[in-house]
Symmetry: C2
């Protein structure tokens, strides 16, 4: 659980940046090289590489190097952790609504 | 768009911490005072208050003070921004799959 929590910390932290979210959006359309991805980013290549490394170290993307070209690929499974966390929250809200419903029904039945 | 992006930065940043996620989970069951929330957190009250302030400044919770008691409430709408962002990504993936499908179909039709 603590381990899972640390993974979520990293995923949310990686998503808290517009450059990194733009990379994820672009990779949703298919693989791309670091060079292609960097072209859309308003910063130097070394600065951009830092973002790539944050995404990779948190498992949101995978990269492979062939010659001088590093290709990036989205890891959708890691994004699914965010989905799961949101679903867990919605489950809690639904439980609460059900509990309130039962309370109102019981109160109405006992005048 | 840039403004919306800055809001998302803050929301993801606020979620990148287990204490803050625990507060969100707890408030999903209903309002609670800072005192009640702090009881479950393994830290001093001042440290815990910093987390409350991060959640509040990023719009994930609302707080109201009555006498000496500060009550916290979840702002689900702010969490819905994360849902929207994920839905946008899934939309991009689906588009891509459809494009690949069309490509495969077209290739098969022209032998």
């Amino acid at each position: 659980m603590a381990q899972h929590s640390a993974v979520l910390d990293g995923v949310f932290d990686a998503l808290a940046d517009p450059t990194r979210r733009a990379v994820i959006r672009r990779l949703g359309r298919g693989r791309a090289s670091v060079g292609e991805l960097a072209r859309d980013a308003p910063m130097t290549l070394p600065s951009f590489m830092k973002h790539v490394r944050v995404l990779e170290s948190n498992g949101l993307i995978r990269t492979t190097k062939s010659g001088r070209v590093r290709t990036c690929e989205l890891n959708r499974e890691r994004l699914a952790l965010v989905d799961d966390w949101l679903a867990e929250q919605r489950g809690i809200w639904t439980e609460r609504t059900d509990r309130l419903d039962r309370f109102v029904t019981n109160t109405q039945e006992k005048p």
